[in-house]
Symmetry: C2
Subunit: 467 residues, 2 copies
């Protein structure tokens, strides 16, 4: 019989990692700067300082291989939800017919945080720095609300005001996370709102405008510009957010060592903007870049409805659809790309984190994609086996992990497969209901149509010789 | 500054208690038997064996002070969600102005289980025994779905079929937990259903009958009678369920010892049928009964809308409203009592566990009650301070803990206050929304009306000289 006592690997609060790890100094090609959309030049630090907490701006360009996690932050993690457990998926292995020790499936469980995902790892951190620097308010955008509720939670810990512009369609259709944000004291507005010029301009055209993440970003940015004591907060894509998430991979390494595993063979995460995937894999990717485990496969999983890396171009593009935010070099489907309404709202972003884009270009990581029906099916299979209902985003990683395990079984290979369970699905039950009643739809744009959109967009032209 | 590293007290999986503790041999007055409603006599073991797993029936009447937790069960707890953390509510203390070490508030966090409450503690256990005894299916009733989802989870772990009769009003108004149960493979039916005679008889009278817990119990019992390989499962009230929940209090004792506390001064839990409250307090109540900490206060908290202990009679009554299930001596508001539609669905039961009733009669424990507006207000205060949104049931314990802390502060007393956070509120966000929008109503029946109902009911007359 399987020894279920080994099914969950715990760490003590005093084992929380003391550093985040920074991949910038190890990148195989150099990081591109954020570009000011007004003049096409690298955004000067003072511009970034006006938008983000200062410490985050410094981290965005830091070349230090390790960045210390402040003691107070480590204490807060210890008193709330970290370290998170690493599970061996023993029951899933049994279900897949791979009992024994040839093929092992592990998952890092980020679903136990107070808002049910990995988002508080950076939300608390950004709120901590903002508070320290005298900021009184953080403002952000949110789609379905995973990030918004994470930031509401983080700000509340430090008595910072939190303002969230929430995509109008979600604001009314998914009230759950809105209520959660408000219980954490946040001001939540349906976007487009009447509170900003950009919001008003969209409402004038259509008083019932359903909103979009791009519009909400524009509103949040405009809101943040009003005062020196308001800063803007981002939940993914940029380097400092990915840095904060490396606590996930750092803990995972310690946990694997406790069961005698140095490196997994296959590392998997879902990617929207890229933060949970990067958080898990960066510490391992650095090893791979330094020649330690050259055969380790690192796989990012996208929805077929929004395949930024799998089908997008690597080019300069606007981070938001209103073309007001910074310009970024990344994999993108184009800033005017409107993804189909899949349930994994957190993966509906047109671009991808520059760090992930660079790693993919240099074949350090791979990308793959799945349809949501297969993904939610894998989510149910996982729930039945492991007892945790994954968020639709996280179910993308589950699907790929199951596929990889079955391939290894077919080929009689020994593999250690590890994926990030980035969040639970308690707020996404509709996806499961639609699956069970046969009403879940799949979406995929033909590649040539994606290319047509990209070709038709007025993309910024950046003179790369300037940096 | 507060040392937040001490804010959460962890146990390792190998520290899971090896025994449940049984209060029956220590009770100050003897336990009354379950009575067969057909003849008014104590239900013979063979009758109970036909309904419940055999091992549970043995535990129901066991006089052993400690009952070993089977190794396999301990392994399953270890590989899923136990031990659960004990938190010091440092931020709540700060918020209440009781910083320092004179008044300490702790809470045991049962909200991290896969279904978000303490229910799996007994669900997994009952499924384990059922499986071992060759049972193929467990059937039960559920209101809002906390218990149903717990049992669905437990059965799924052992590949047992699970059938749940869910109160029709909740079935349609609260789809979330229904979907969760179905992802764990359970068959969920709206009750009254056409699948049973009792269900049909209610539907004939009213095809749109909203259902009740009493009707759902009748349907589940009828369903369980159909075959020897189907057993009925209960989520509260009876002795063996309370026994299984003592793992909560057993862990709490070990955790308190780690921070140098032998016994809390005040122990608090909410009570519907009584299982989460009993699970926390029984190990401490045994100490109190044995003279170890005579001044410890143990407080059960009821909703004012359903105050079985605070305002009910201690008498023989039917456990279900259809008068088909066993007759129990307990605090009751009468089997025809229909509680007002408060959000704490798990506290809307007309009776109370016999063990708790006896402890209350003997002044080992106290009972108190609160209105739901005050309760949900305390829940939000707790969420803002501690970052966890409590279930409306658990918020009753939060409210009382806050009140007790403020009383101690007023009186300059030193107190260690500890309560059970029995579940999270992610499936109960409507309660919080109504509170925030000022739409939450309070309900309370005048005592004389409760007495009038009790007097009007045809209560069973039991000859106590027979046992």
């Amino acid at each position: 019989m399987v020894d279920y006592f080994n099914g969950r690997i715990f760490l003590q609060p005093n084992e929380i990692p003391k550093d985040w790890v920074n991949i910038l100094p190890d990148l195989p090609s150099s990081m591109t700067p954020l570009i000011n959309p007004m003049d096409g030049k690298p955004a000067p630090p003072e511009m970034a300082f006006a938008i983000f907490p200062k410490e985050c701006v410094m981290q965005e360009v830091s070349q230090e291989p390790r960045v210390p996690i402040p003691k107070m932050l480590r204490e807060i993690f210890a008193s709330t939800y970290r370290p998170s457990p690493l599970h061996r998926a023993l029951r899933l292995e049994k279900e897949l017919g791979i009992e024994g020790d040839d093929i092992k499936i592990f998952y890092k469980n980020e679903s136990l945080s107070p808002t049910g995902s990995h988002k508080p790892n950076t939300a608390i951190t950004q709120a901590y720095y903002a508070k320290k620097e005298g900021t009184k308010e953080l403002v952000t955008e949110t789609g379905a609300g995973q990030w918004g509720s994470g930031l509401a939670y983080g700000c509340n810990l430090f008595n910072l005001k939190c303002t969230v512009y929430m995509v109008r369609a979600s604001f009314f259709q998914k009230p759950g996370r809105k209520i959660l944000m408000r219980s954490f004291n946040a001001d939540v507005h349906a976007s487009p709102s009447k509170l900003t010029e950009s919001g008003n301009s969209f409402l004038e055209r259509d008083p019932e405008h359903p909103g979009s993440l791009g519009i909400a970003i524009s509103e949040a940015l405009e809101h943040s510009m009003r005062s020196d004591i308001i800063k803007y907060s981002l939940g993914s894509v940029v380097n400092f957010v990915l840095l904060h998430q490396t606590i996930i991979g750092q803990e995972t390494k310690i946990q694997l060592a406790k069961v005698g595993i140095e490196e997994p063979d296959i590392l998997i995460g879902c990617m929207g903007g890229g933060s949970n995937f990067a958080g898990l894999m960066i510490p391992f990717a650095i090893d791979k870049l330094n020649g330690k485990s050259p055969n380790m496969e690192i796989i990012g999983v996208e929805p077929r409805a929004c395949p930024s890396v799998c089908k997008g171009d690597y080019r300069w593009d606007y981070g938001d659809s209103s073309m007001k935010g910074p310009i970024v070099k990344m994999h993108t489907l184009g800033h005017s790309f409107i993804p189909s309404p899949i349930h994994a709202g957190g993966l509906r972003y047109h671009g991808m984190a520059p760090i992930i884009s660079i790693l993919h270009n240099n074949r350090v990581i791979n990308a793959t994609m799945h349809h949501q029906t297969a993904v939610i099916g894998a989510g149910i299979q996982f729930a039945k086996a492991e007892g945790i209902l994954p968020a639709p985003e996280a179910a993308h990683a589950v699907k790929e992990a199951i596929d990889q395990a079955l391939i290894a079984k077919e080929n009689n290979e020994k593999k250690v497969i590890l994926f990030n369970l980035s969040g639970h699905g308690f707020f996404d039950l509709l996806a499961y209901k639609e699956y069970m009643t046969g009403n879940l739809k799949d979406y995929e744009l033909p590649t040539q149509e994606i290319q047509k959109t990209l070709a038709s967009e007025e993309m910024p032209v950046i003179d790369e010789s300037q940096f």
